[in-house]
């Protein structure tokens, strides 16, 4: 029997009168890739921000790895093994690519007063960080200042940091947006590799083709509510989804081949 790694129940977030997320339930099983789909303003990123601790939910409950986590601060969730990327890439621009990953490697020490005085550039740490950079394909750029990297590489750097922090779950917030075609397929491969490492992936995606291909299951949000949930085929044939979101686009895709 599959066990949920992450479960949200009746999740709500209101900003004044705006109901950004209004009663969403879903769960992510261990080892799966779950996609969250929806038009702009559907509440996808707000959901992410609640799951990763940046926002406190107005209501509802979040369970991560069997513990209740709604309202916990982000650094606590990170320490529990939840890593994330951001829609707008935010590297530590004045640190090098390697140092960016080493900041994430520090996660094993930040909670313990005595260990934070240790050196961060030790051989093991650097070797482990280089291993991650190797996996995401940034090893040659390790010494480069992160602020000088182009967007595609920055997305990889963010994923590298998220892989270090997210021992159990990685949240990817539109990691494909703005990427060229070749970069998209390389990133798809990387995400599959991450899953093979035993890490569960929850991703927000705009690009329908990518998410249909990559995700085991898809949750569709619209106006802060869950519209549908299921496999790619189920979503594609769901009448409500077609009307609300896919309708025009599906016809266009079909026409375009």
């Amino acid at each position: 029997m599959k066990q949920p790694l992450l479960k949200v129940e009746g999740l709500r977030k209101h900003f004044g009168g705006l109901k950004a997320v209004d009663g969403v339930d879903f769960q992510v099983d261990r080892g799966e890739i779950l996609g969250i789909l929806g038009p702009n303003g559907a509440g996808k990123t707000v959901c992410f921000n609640m799951i990763s601790g940046i926002y406190k939910p107005t209501g509802g409950r979040i369970f991560f790895d069997r513990a209740r986590t709604d309202g916990l601060p982000p650094f606590r969730l990170a320490a529990m093994g939840l890593g994330r990327t951001f829609q707008i890439v935010k590297p530590f621009t004045s640190l090098t690519v390697l140092e960016n990953v080493l900041v994430a490697r520090g996660i094993a020490h930040y909670g313990r007063f005595r260990r934070i005085w240790g050196p961060w550039r030790s051989k093991d740490q650097v070797a482990a960080a280089m291993g991650i950079l190797e996996q995401v394909g940034l090893a040659e750029l390790a010494g480069r200042k992160a602020g000088l990297l182009p967007l595609g590489n920055l997305r990889r750097l963010e994923i590298a940091r998220a892989m270090v922090v997210g021992r159990k779950l990685i949240l990817l917030d539109e990691s494909f947006s703005g990427l060229r075609h070749g970069e998209v397929s390389r990133l798809e491969d990387l995400i599959r590799t991450i899953r093979q490492m035993g890490i569960t992936v929850l991703l927000i995606e705009h690009n329908l083709r990518v998410s249909m291909k990559l995700c085991d299951r898809i949750v569709v949000l619209d106006h802060g509510r869950k519209l549908a949930e299921g496999t790619a085929e189920q979503i594609q044939s769901n009448q409500q989804v077609i009307e609300a979101y896919l309708g025009r686009r599906r016809r266009k895709n079909a026409a375009g081949g």
């Binding site: 990763s52 601790g53 940046i54 601060p73 982000p74 650094f75 990170a78 320490a79 890593g83 994330r84 951001f86 935010k90 530590f92 621009t93 004045s94 640190l95 140092e99 080493l102 900041v103 994430a104 520090g106 996660i107 020490h109 930040y110 909670g111 260990r115 934070i116 005085w117 240790g118 050196p119 961060w120 550039r121 940091r161 922090v165």
Partner: protein, 287 residues
């Protein structure tokens, strides 16, 4: 030549003390983007606490230690109760708060210790050094040695330890640092502990150096250090240290040795204006 060397040595000592105060300001600006004017008041409190502990215990080491602990706590209290709640407002709001805290602390010192100039009758336990015909007094030696020690420890912490890396990450982007598992608020507090403890050291040193402790002794450093972090490059600790040393030397050499008819305290601002005109990012700042 003799007088020149002596003034140069005094200048380096002056500059060292400026550096100890200014680097706290640079640390805080680097991490919170706040002008921590009340830092100079922490330095005043450091001098008073150091003097009080010294008088009670007779031990200068305890005086330094007591001042550092007290000021670290005071710095964290200011951060928690004044700056942190004001962070969501535009930067002039915490600045006003900071000025208010500075005035309040100054008045408190006046109320508690009286509006007098107290003497600080301590001898620093270091031997005077003779270099040719120039003597470096034990006080100067102590200022050099203590500054060098503090800078070395600070350099080690910020560049070599995990907490230093966390501080650099936090000063770049608190939200991302949090997502990397760093309790960024605690890192901010740690920054205040460091900066304030160092300001306490500076306060005690100045008290001994001039043999004076008085409530408004932080007033001149308060605005001089503001000019210095602009010259050094906002938020750059090495820049702040270099700017401070240069200013200390320039003040004693230009005013004391070359006898340029300018008020001593004007130099910092002339330097600031020059920097703003020709190199607005400061000596070591980034644009």
């Amino acid at each position: 030549m003799h007088l020149f060397l002596e003034q140069l040595l005094n200048g380096i000592a002056m500059g060292s003390i400026y550096a100890l105060v200014t680097l706290g300001l640079a640390l805080v600006y680097g991490i919170l983007r706040i002008l921590h004017v009340a830092h100079a008041a922490i330095y005043t409190v450091g001098a008073y606490v150091g003097l009080a502990v010294f008088k009670l215990s007779g031990s200068l080491l305890l005086g330094f230690g007591g001042a550092m602990v007290f000021c670290a706590a005071l710095g964290v209290a200011i951060e928690r109760f004044v700056y942190y709640p004001l962070l969501k407002y535009p930067p002039y709001v915490p600045l006003i708060g900071s000025i208010a805290v500075m005035l309040a602390i100054e008045e408190l010192c006046r109320l508690v210790a009286g509006p007098y100039i107290l003497t600080f009758p301590a001898k620093l336990p270091l031997a005077a050094v003779k270099l040719g015909n120039v003597t470096i007094s034990s006080t100067l030696m102590a200022v050099y040695a203590i500054t060098a020690l503090v800078l070395a420890i600070l350099w080690y912490i910020t560049t070599r330890t995990e907490i230093g890396l966390a501080m650099r990450a936090t000063s770049q982007d608190m939200a991302i640092a949090d997502a990397m598992g760093i309790n960024s608020h605690r890192v901010v507090s740690a920054t205040f502990v460091l900066g304030s403890a160092i300001a306490a050291v500076a306060g005690v040193l100045v008290g001994i150096y001039y043999n004076q402790v008085y409530p408004t002794m932080g007033a001149v450093p308060a605005y001089k250090t503001l000019a210095l972090i602009v010259v050094g490059g906002m938020g750059s600790v090495p820049g702040a240290v270099i700017a401070s040393l240069l200013l200390g030397v320039a003040e004693t050499l230009l005013i004391g040795y070359a006898r340029i008819p300018l008020p001593r305290d004007a130099l910092a601002f002339i330097a600031m204006i020059a920097v703003l005109m020709w190199r607005s990012e400061g000596l070591l700042g980034s644009r």
